[in-house]
Point group: C3
Chain length 667, copies 3
């Protein structure tokens, strides 16, 4: 994998006329060395049940092979053909919205026996057909797999069996989930009711966990089939996607990325983000941090935007900045969705590297610069790695629990990913790299000097104890509001909150509210930036704990908003409310200082610095996320990786609008 | 009933560990003398069909009995067990949204034979089991019963029979409801169409009336069963709730409170209201006025918030102020929902008197003050009553009719309850107590010096004649826009509006519109406060009528907005448009003056004064609904009920933020 | 048809008491000479299947006949009786929302055999019954017919057959519609999937076209039946309605007006529009332009508002202004919906000429003025016609395609009709009359000096070639953004855009975006009015093309926003973005100048001038669409049509608020 890949998704199937040779020539000129094919086109590969036609695949493999372009072949299972739905309407997932209707992709029940039977056959046929082709370097299993809200009867029956295996008796389940409430108790497994409209967050959370496991199971099943064919050296990957709010936003609710990734050789993801004046690199950073951590290794950006939505048409320089940023976060591939812009159907305005006219436009010309840069960079940086001293611990279970109990009011909503991004983006703006950990990574906490924990609302005592021990053992722990409130079954801990962490954090509270005209003391900022947002806990500090911020309010002024507690060999911080970004920016340096991390000499966003490290070598990326030319100080001397010019330490580097400099240094 | 009750809803069933003795001790310390149990827990009481387990009930009854705490036992019928739904899916109400899904409470068809059979059995078992226990003082029938939008086929068949019984022939129905319109005519009862999507407001209104009658019937049926068991002295009550807009807001659309209450011994309700800076006491006032009038007697507040939603976490003093306000409006019980905060399920963030940690927090400490105060107050005030000289006449029929024809535009919506609150709250701000009457109370109009009538859009001629005669007979009548427009079948009266009242009111109109840039003349207020809102009628005054306000507008200036007419021995006022609260505050004193009611010497909101009266004794409540300490003049000398200090007439009483003083006087 | 008709829709069926003679008297006094009856009342005409009762029809025909009032009889087929739905539930259209529910009108499947059988019978019975009555002057077929989103299985089967007839093979279909995308390919006609949830805009567009053809077919079928009965001189019309946004807004998406009108003798429509301060006459203008063009002849306004919604209660003078404006655009009838205001059901607050009290109110008094004016005007203007030198070319296909791909972002949405109105209203404000053409009218382009083309997103090459040739041949062509982008199957043309027109227009582009902080250079307006809205193309001008406006933006400044190109004997303009109305107003005169159209001496909106022309005679309407009295210069001398006073050329005519003057001139 020590190769930097620059790629596109390519569909000979969609071309309005035969362009293959022309496209390959243009790709080569742009430095594209990898394409992904086949993952959306089941109905073309198998136009009638059992009738296979791999002619498009073959022609593309041959052409790419001749041009020296590597090919990733996707299993085509995320979009089902019309003939299957006609014959087996049950392959469409029953969801909260009712029975599915044909049309979009990702509408099937990934546990349906008919679907699985057809899927296995097409995978075997396709992978068996291509695995020997020298152009094929790896496989993508399905695409952006999720559970698609499947909740039909069969899935619910499996869920009840899953609960029964866990709890044994209905009494145990009733107790753990508090089902006595509003007469939801179950006293015979056969009475188990429809869960689709449950008012019990424990049950809803369990159902979500169960459905995330269906995704893990499905991908592992595909992996086991593909491995029967894969030649040595061919990798298996998957294109994970993130929570979506018009763009990649945060932790994916419908998949346990950590668990699902364990069947892969290399982790992959897609990252889509705002552009033009909204381009910040933050999504590139968090998406990279999550994906990098899944197998603790470099990852593939299997899809990202060249042009995408009309609002994302890039300014000059932005595509280049984006590509370099992916590399700076540890990606080994940057691949565009798609090569060309589609002439029919829903993604016509989700534009590719080429516009509908196939002419070499602005994005293509910038891709040529990127290809050239990657060719130069590959030998220098492909074996370097991101090293983070800080980590953010995220949890699908907490995310789902908070979906049942939104943190903020309707006026100022706040959910789990909002808190995740609130923390993550502050580290990003401070130019402090972070890893992202899942509960399965808890054993590795001690690798980090600082662990930040957003809204870990639902967690077992074992995980809370791990966090406590991390702080006592010398770490710097930063927990936000809503951490350690309920157990893994979303039952509120019936004692002093934050449960099990109160002593280490040096705080406790019984009450909380939405802030109305509440500001923060202790930070020198304008009033609007000191305004408390969405949610606040009325925290009483323990003796010895240091109150760094209080609330300013006629009645809540006696409560603490932000505290620091020396505990054991470490320090524990508690942030009891959501604040403005500016307030968190003002508070974070103190926390970092306790972890021994200094921001001295570092620029701040919109100037970004990222570093890759290896044996005696470093590559520093200086990135200008703004529309103005800016100067930045070289943190170390070295060589400009793109121009081979030498750079002195402390030299002033000029970055144009959305500009990039990469400096290679030796220790 | 001459006891002041301070209580909580208590659920041993929900406890994460056995806390009964500890809870009882804490209750006693807080002065809690009544608990309500059992009404939500059918599945615990009857875990399998016909298998009953009253162990939680028994333990609580015994513990409460030992502690001298009275118990109200609720029938558990508002939340059905899973086993019933599995066996009889038809118990779930078919609604406009389609077939019901298990999960929430209050999802059943209250006319379903299976449901009723099981409900009768569990009621008989439970009430038969507890009726002899000395701790049991009364029963609550079901909870917040409504029709839950039931509109399945069986209910619709009953509705057609109900129509047929009323109208006899389809011709009579077609004529009364105007069914010729858009070809909706029915010429054979067997052709009667699905009413769920009707465009005929007469039909929709009749269906709503029919469904409200189902609630009356259901509660009367439960009452008849419970009465078979009730011992002498044990009361029957029900927890009525109000129209809901994130809190109790107005007249309940889905229940005829007046009719449904007739099967009870004592009326009850729940009142939930904004808190913190939004606490005004207005919901306590209107909820009390409605419930007090149902049986013309003191009432029980069977539920109200201790903490409730996160936005309602009370400021210090607010819980005390709320409790005293309930008493000041004639309540004989103040009961919190719940004792503790729930650890699982949907109401986890609808917090009780105790937080999830069960520790004695701020709300509990304030409850101790309340308990102590109620102990002191009981002998002095339990036999006193609210006396109102003013009444507001409300109508479920008018409310429902206006749902079909909203009063205001989408930009400035206005519905029936908006108009009700518009009037009610103005009386409240003026410190003039009001009763609330239903059409069934029309015979008692003459008990009042002033009757206010909000948007009585649909009313039979008999009721309109009653209002006219009230004014002619010497009363002061205040009607708003949209009064007397259509008959009881929501057919617009085809003659001069307001029908039958035009002469008494001294007004008529043919046209109306939404106000655009229209202000009110005749009140000395800033322009924004004189802005006409939502809806306006283009009223022409009759000769002799006095125009108190006109519209300011290039074209509508010739029409009247507010008029006064001397008629017979009384006066009739007509308000032709919705105004700002400030404008109504400015206009109301003149109306009150005609009724002989003077506001001289009375404070105004946020200072409130309320009075209870009895044989030669009075209790005056001075309530400060603000965050500032304020002084108020004692309207009469007497004794401070909480401190026993004497208070001289005209003495200046200092009220702290959200403060209360209660002065007992003798005539 | 050379008669000016003034009319009302009249329903004896809805009257709360017998008013026929009284109503006829009031109509005559108001100058009403035509009524429309019967089209909403199937259940009254046929109270039970096969049982007919024409007594209301007969009484009205006789009374009108006696009074000399003409009658248009509508077929009653747009609202089905309850008895039909009980017997044949399948007559209710299956739509995207699922199976229909009885209640509203226009809920049936217009292709259902049961519905059609009953419809044919009632049409034959009714028309056969009335055709001989001397009062009957014409027939209205159904009312506001649309396809009502019918998409049940039978309709979908017909659609597949329709596709098969067009494409022959599935391969041809797959290629034309790009069905390979997301595995939507169909390789056996029997596999054809449910189209209701398709993600393919080509398929969706074809389904919409197919469904519009169902409307054409249905009306032609009704016409063929009615023609069997119609006597010579009796006309056939239909009441077309327009896209609806709380009022008539633009091109109707669900009907091909041009095609559907071909079965009629005279075209009709309803026009509803804002009133009070929002009255502009723009809807009267575009509705008139569309309907006038359908058969290139005068048209009937079969419905318009007297009072309508509460927000439309007219100011004094507005009803008169509206009526005169309809005439000024070529209407030969102005008819109100309804005579009276309805006392029950959904349209109670859609008021008629009389209010619910039937008294002669303000609107009635103004109708009397209108009736008198029409009586005077008829001989002078009934044979005059609108003559337009400019035309706007609209397209249902483009409209539907843009529904799949909205032009603007959610923040600043823009659709096809927004662009149509954007252009249309600018011509209106400039007092330049326009015709509206459909693609079927393309052969007639050369009749016009200027053709404007809004967002012709989907069009066959033949139409684009026609537009190109129009410009080359000497015409002035103005195209907006989104023109010539995709073919008639909504497949994007895979070459330089705008396809086939790039050379003539002198522009090309590959990229586009949503404007963020982009303004227009080249127009002297405040910044806000120069702000680019919703959508912009990054246009590169061809050598020789003149850039009239550029974008002001750090990155987009090199692209053109508005261009002019001399081509062949004509000129072609391209507007690459949506602008403010003010900016278009500033740009339009230059375009008009190239077409030889001068605005010298013309007033501008809110003063409007419209002209009707005939053999040596002209009638000019001077219309004041404002609340202020204004003076206007007489463009030609003549005689005031309403007062017979003579008017000198250049005389200053005073128009009161919402005032009208009509001057008759001779050449």
């Amino acid at each position: 994998m020590e190769k930097l890949r620059f790629g596109v998704a390519y569909y000979d199937e969609y071309m309005p006329y035969d362009r293959l040779e022309q496209d390959v020539r243009m790709m080569r000129e742009a430095g594209i060395n990898t394409v992904r094919i086949a993952e959306s086109t089941w109905s073309t590969l198998e136009p009638q049940p059992g009738v296979f036609d791999f002619s498009h695949v073959d022609r593309v493999l041959d052409a790419m092979g001749r041009a020296g372009i590597d090919v990733i072949v996707g299993t085509p299972t995320y979009a089902v053909p019309a003939w299957m739905v006609r014959r087996h309407p049950g392959v469409l997932a029953q969801t909260h919205a009712g029975p599915g209707r044909y049309g979009p992709r990702q509408i099937m029940d990934i546990t349906d026996p008919d679907y699985l039977r057809y899927a296995e056959r097409v995978i075997r046929k396709l992978i068996g057909h291509v695995c020997g082709h020298p152009a094929v370097v790896g496989y993508q299993l399905d695409n952006e797999t999720k559970h698609y809200d499947v909740c039909g009867e069969r899935v619910q029956r499996r869920f009840v069996a899953w609960l029964r295996a866990q709890f044994g008796t209905t009494d145990a389940l009733n107790a753990a989930f508090g089902l006595d409430y509003w007469s939801n108790r179950v006293d015979d497994w056969d009475d188990f009711p429809d869960v689709r409209n449950t008012i019990n967050a424990s049950l809803r959370g369990a159902f979500e966990r169960f459905r995330r496991e269906l995704v893990t199971e499905f991908l592992a099943w595909q992996a086991s089939i593909v491995r029967e064919y894969a030649r040595p050296g061919q990798f298996l990957t998957h294109n994970f996607d993130f929570a979506w709010r018009n763009h990649s936003y945060g932790v994916q609710p419908a998949v346990d990325h950590k668990q699902a990734a364990q069947c892969l050789t290399v982790a992959g993801c897609d990252i889509y983000h705002p552009s033009q004046d909204g381009l910040t690199g933050m999504e590139i950073a968090f998406g990279g941090a999550i994906t990098r951590g899944l197998l603790r290794a470099p990852y593939l950006v299997l899809e990202t935007q060249a042009q995408g939505f009309p609002c994302w048409t890039p300014y000059p320089g932005q595509l280049f900045l984006q590509a370099m940023s992916h590399l700076a976060h540890g990606a080994h591939m940057v691949e565009y969705w798609h090569w060309h812009s589609i002439h029919n159907a829903i993604e016509t305005y989700w534009k590719g590297l080429l516009s509908h006219d196939f002419l070499p436009g602005e994005p293509y010309r910038e891709a040529c610069r990127i290809g050239e840069a990657m060719r130069r960079l590959a030998p220098a940086i492909a074996d370097l790695r991101v090293k983070s001293r800080c980590a953010i611990l995220v949890s699908n279970g907490a995310l789902t629990a908070v979906e049942s109990f939104p943190i903020g009011s309707a006026d100022e909503p706040c959910d789990y990913n909002r808190v995740f991004r609130f923390l993550h983006d502050a580290f990003y703006r401070a130019n402090v790299p972070v890893d992202v950990l899942f509960p399965e990574d808890a054993d590795g906490l001690d690798r980090y000097d600082l662990v930040a924990v957003p809204a870990l609302y639902a967690a077992p005592e074992s995980l809370l104890a791990r966090l406590r021990d991390y702080a006592l053992g010398g770490g710097t722990l930063l927990c936000t509001f809503k951490t350690a409130f309920s157990d893994e079954h979303v039952k509120v801990y019936p004692d002093r909150q934050p449960h099990l962490l109160a002593d280490a954090l040096g705080v406790s509270y019984s009450e909380f509210t939405y802030p109305c005209g509440v500001t923060l003391s202790g930070v020198g900022l304008p009033a609007e930036q000191r305004r408390v947002r969405s949610f606040m806990e009325l925290v009483t500090p323990a003796p010895g704990a240091q109150v760094l911020c209080r609330y300013e309010h006629p009645h809540w002024g006696r409560y603490a908003a932000f505290t620091r507690n020396a505990c054991g060999n470490g320090h524990a911080y508690y942030l009891a409310c959501l604040t403005s970004d500016e307030a968190l920016d003002a508070l974070l340096p103190g926390v970092l200082a306790d972890a021994g991390i200094s921001l001295d000499g570092l620029p701040r966003f919109p100037l970004c610095v990222r570093m890759l490290e290896g044996e005696g070598r470093r590559a520093r990326f200086y990135l200008n996320y703004s529309d103005d030319a800016r100067d930045i100080r070289a943190l170390e001397g070295g060589v400009d990786a793109l121009t081979d010019e030498s750079v002195a330490q402390d030299a002033s580097l000029t970055l144009g609008p959305w500009g990039v400099r990469i400096v290679l240094s030796r220790a």
